[in-house]
Symmetry: C2
Subunit: 177 residues, 2 copies
DNA sequence: GTTCAAGTAGAACGAACGTTTTACCAAGGA
DNA sequence: TCCTTGGTAAAACGTTCGTTCTACTTGAAC
């Protein structure tokens, strides 16, 4: 059980699910993407469902790191930076929207997936609200983030402009404390 | 080929896909939900993919009607009404987020699904922006709508409050024309 | 030098799947 | 009366799927 093998496998799995979704790719295609033998693949992830979970866990780590590490200390700059980073993620990694929502949408009856979705979104909302100094407006922030992620597929860079504009409005409208 | 049979079938299909997603349910389960024989089901929808497309077309019609028919003439009231109607839809019909995004997420390589998604979202954005008097802010409106739909699964009624608040901010911030 | 963990290649298996087909039934119009 | 239309029930077909298993290779540690 080597760590580098596991990373290689899970990277291949993640890429495949991003490109093809969760319905289509069969285990043999996942195996090819992982670059290992079927036996090894099943040793690290003993079922197709485990492969899905593993890929999502891996993506969660990458996403949180990319979005939240080393944000500017100033709350306004941090807010702007987060939106830019989300747009960058969409450009480079997620043409088709949030993979976690996609997984739950594909298999809405899986409790494990729903739990993972809640952990993922919850952690991001909490940490981001703190970083941008809008802890009382978690729902508004989450809405802007989800809206940006989801409408990116429809409007591209316009979605980023709209998100910045709405975030600006939110800060401007906020009752002074 | 009777119309009432077709409606009964497509209603059953839509419900099943809403509840179970697009990956899991097999044709025999869809048949049971449609309440017809396998032969009849295949006469109306000659493949599983056609069943998916048919269910989404049907849902599109229902959604557009519910969201946009008979809106108040006053733009501000109309905006509020649309958000309320979206929340009502989420409460009653779509616990798991937008079915169109879900379909594309499950099978991102299907051109037919992507076209349908664009038609669906495009029509709603255009007609709604006109109805609420914010035709220059389609991207912002779309973002709020997508954000509400998507964050409903996470925050429930708080998502509606956040959407109303952001919509209010948008109207207040808008440069007077 | 042997052992052992970690890997490859790919055959095999039973179940499930999407689809087609056969056989039959009920009602209405010419 | 017969034939068409729209439907049911369910067997059958060929494929594909997720999973397991057998047989073999390699590299490093003791």
């Amino acid at each position: 059980m080597s760590d580098s093998t596991k990373t290689a496998i899970v990277t291949g799995l993640e890429q495949t699910f991003v490109r093809q979704g969760f319905a289509k790719p069969g285990v043999d295609e996942l195996r090819a993407a992982a670059g290992v033998s079927l036996r090894t693949l099943y040793k690290y992830y003993p079922s197709r469902d485990a492969m899905i979970l593993g890929a999502l866990e891996h993506r969660h780590g990458r996403y949180v790191e990319r979005l939240l590490d080393g944000l500017p200390a100033d709350p306004k700059e941090a807010l702007d930076a987060v939106l830019e980073r989300v747009a960058g993620w969409m450009r480079e990694e997620a043409g088709h929207g949030c993979l976690f929502h996609g997984a739950v949408a594909a298999m809405p009856e899986s409790d494990a997936l729903r739990e993972l979705l809640e952990r993922h979104k919850g952690e991001i909302a909490r940490r981001m609200a703190a970083a941008v100094g809008l802890s009382g407006n978690e729902a508004e922030l989450t809405l802007i983030l989800e809206g940006l992620t989801q409408s990116w597929a429809l409007n591209g860079e316009d979605a980023l402009r709209a998100a910045k504009r709405l975030a600006g409005c939110l800060v401007a409208c906020e009752p002074k404390s």
